[in-house]
């Protein structure tokens, strides 16, 4: 890193609690990335995360969340490497502590999970034509697609990305929703996915709290109780949602 960039990094780091624009944060992020990519971090070999992922976490926890009047000052760009290595030591210590298993891990390896199971429902035993079930509830295709678009509009960008590139996607090389959310540096990804209703362990008809999540409420909005008994109609509604998510997700790329 050249001297001017190093000085700029130190200045921005030490004044980050005064940032009032996106561009200042972006510049600090860029300079932090460049500096930390140059640092040797042997502890990384003992951690499961990639260097890029660790740098993103470091930036969120040590630069963004701790930005305050009393945060530890940076005296030179090389000191940032020490900060980073100390952060990694913390991560290493934490790894030794018993941790709960992220629910996302439970659906990490099953890329071939049938569509409806991605939302925590068991596949229906007999599903001749789900659209007929939907019609029994008086739901038409255009109503379902329109409601899906409204739901998608209300979601955060990353949630749409997760739906389009993971939950709804049928490609072989896709990441799980949990892994993709982590890659996008979504803090508390497990909680947010649970709240949205797309983690296998916490979604679905077997879980009474599914009614409280966004997808459960969306389904209930059609007058359909989001439980296993109604899985055929739910399956059809979720297909319509995914149709719109894929259209929007691909369109935005």
């Amino acid at each position: 890193m050249d001297r001017a960039s190093g000085e700029r990094l130190v200045y921005l780091w030490n004044h980050r609690d005064e940032f009032r624009s996106n561009s200042e944060w972006y510049e600090l992020y860029m300079l932090t990335q460049r500096q930390l990519k140059r640092c040797k971090a042997p502890i990384l070999a003992s951690l499961p995360e990639s260097k890029e992922h660790s740098i993103d976490d470091f930036f969120r926890i040590k630069a963004f969340e701790t930005a305050g009047r009393n945060s530890t000052p940076l005296y030179g760009p090389r000191a940032l490497c020490r900060f980073f290595n100390n952060y990694l030591k913390d991560c290493l210590r934490a790894q030794d502590t018993a941790e709960i298993t992220d629910s996302g891990h439970e659906d990490t390896d099953d890329d071939d999970t049938p569509f409806i199971e991605r939302f925590g429902f068991s596949p229906p035993e007999d599903m001749i034509d789900p659209a007929l079930d939907a019609l029994e509830y008086g739901i038409t295709l255009s109503q379902a697609r329109s409601a899906a678009r409204a739901l998608l509009m209300s979601l955060a960008d990353w949630q749409l990305t997760v739906l389009a590139q993971s939950t709804c996607a049928d490609t072989d090389d896709k990441l799980t929703a949990d892994a993709l959310a982590k890659q996008l540096a979504i803090p508390s990804a497990n909680y947010h996915l649970k709240k949205l209703g797309i983690t296998k362990a916490h979604g679905g008809g077997g879980n009474p709290h599914f009614r409280e999540c966004h997808l459960g409420q969306w389904i209930a909005g059609f007058g359909v109780d989001p439980v296993q008994d109604n899985v055929a109609c739910i399956h059809w509604l979720l297909i319509q949602l995914c149709h719109e998510a894929l259209a929007r997700g691909l369109g935005e790329e």
């Binding site: 490497c81 100390n86 992220d102």
Partner: protein
């Protein structure tokens, strides 16, 4: 999920291992500095939320009911992470409020019964204001506050207080797997200890409020606020006492061309003589001029007694040094 060790360390509960400036050998490896850098969506969203919150939340008007304040420990080496709390009501001490601990958005994986997700009840908030721990009441020392992270309206406050009335100390076992429950319980224990530490800080403030600070303490506080003068080199502690042996409680300062010594009995000023112009010192009691001194030559000294009778009233020491710098000390 955020590691519990990191959370407790960031809350200042394992202080000895906390310092970020440990001496680690760092080598550098070459990478392409021109490589484009893309900020992840999660970070972009958090930054956007902070900037929006800062634009929409008044920053110079606290404490008020419903505000979520960021609190910081005074010593940067002691703690990294700010602590946040929702203000419910003022206690008997004007600088202490009761409220609930607020955890950051990044810890939402530990959300359980008794927590209130702020996303559901307020639009504009800093990501440090993620959820209210209504099971975790705390007393808040207002002088530790450095920013307002969110301000809940009446409806949102009603929701929070309603949730608080049903809040359990432990999370609902029906909603979590056993191992998940175990981690949440340990998480709550960490935050319970942190709330206790903040409550102790607030308690010491309440004690101070009931005891009138000593003369020296009161003046020390004012001197500490003269940072601007100190910055331009006009106001600095004296290196040695030029006017004799110092008492236990004595403040020694130099204000440009004046040496100033204050002890519990008297304020003594001496002109150094580097400036030809005179210095002036006035003592006011209840806004009435009580005595006035002009120091013209080098070595001229004024001794102003600070008797208990004087201290019982509203006493002000007005000092104008030769170059025109003027300070007022409320004695």
């Amino acid at each position: 999920m955020k590691p519990l060790t990191t959370i407790s360390r960031q809350l200042g509960l394992e202080i000895s291992e906390q310092a970020m400036d440990a001496t680690t050998e760092i080598d550098e490896i070459d990478t392409d500095a021109t490589e484009p850098v893309t900020m992840p969506l999660g970070l972009q969203a958090m930054i956007k939320a902070r900037l929006r919150a800062h634009d929409q939340i008044t920053q110079d008007d606290w404490p008020k009911r419903g505000q979520i304040l960021r609190l910081e420990k005074p010593n940067p080496n002691q703690d990294e992470r700010p602590f946040a709390a929702l203000l419910i009501e003022r206690t008997a001490s004007p600088n202490v409020w009761s409220g609930y601990v607020v955890a950051p958005e990044s810890e939402l994986d530990y959300f359980a019964k008794g927590d209130v997700d702020l996303e559901d009840i307020t639009e504009s908030r800093d990501p440090l204001a993620g959820f209210v721990q209504t099971w975790n009441p705390v007393r808040i020392a207002i002088p530790s506050a450095t920013a307002c992270l969110a301000w809940l309206d009446r409806e949102a406050m009603a929701y929070v207080t309603g949730a608080a009335s049903n809040a359990p100390r432990l999370p609902d076992s029906a909603r979590h797997e056993p191992e998940e429950l175990d981690a949440i319980t340990r998480y709550r224990s960490i935050y319970g200890i942190a709330a206790g530490e903040w409550a102790a800080r607030a308690a010491s403030l309440e004690t101070q409020a009931t005891t009138k600070p000593s003369l020296i303490d009161r003046i020390s506080t004012q001197l500490a606020n003269l940072g601007q003068l100190a910055a331009i080199g006009q106001w600095r502690p004296a290196v040695a006492d030029p006017m004799g042996p110092e008492a236990d409680q004595t403040l020694l300062w130099t204000l440009a061309d004046l040496d100033i010594r204050i002890d519990p009995q008297a304020c003594k000023l001496r002109k150094l003589g580097e400036d030809q112009r005179p210095a002036k010192v006035d003592l006011y009691l209840n806004d009435q001029l009580l005595e006035s001194h002009t120091l013209t030559d080098a070595g001229d000294t004024a001794v102003i007694p600070l008797s208990p009778e004087h201290q019982a009233g509203k006493m002000t020491l007005a000092i104008r040094e030769p170059s025109g710098t003027y300070i007022e000390l409320r004695v």
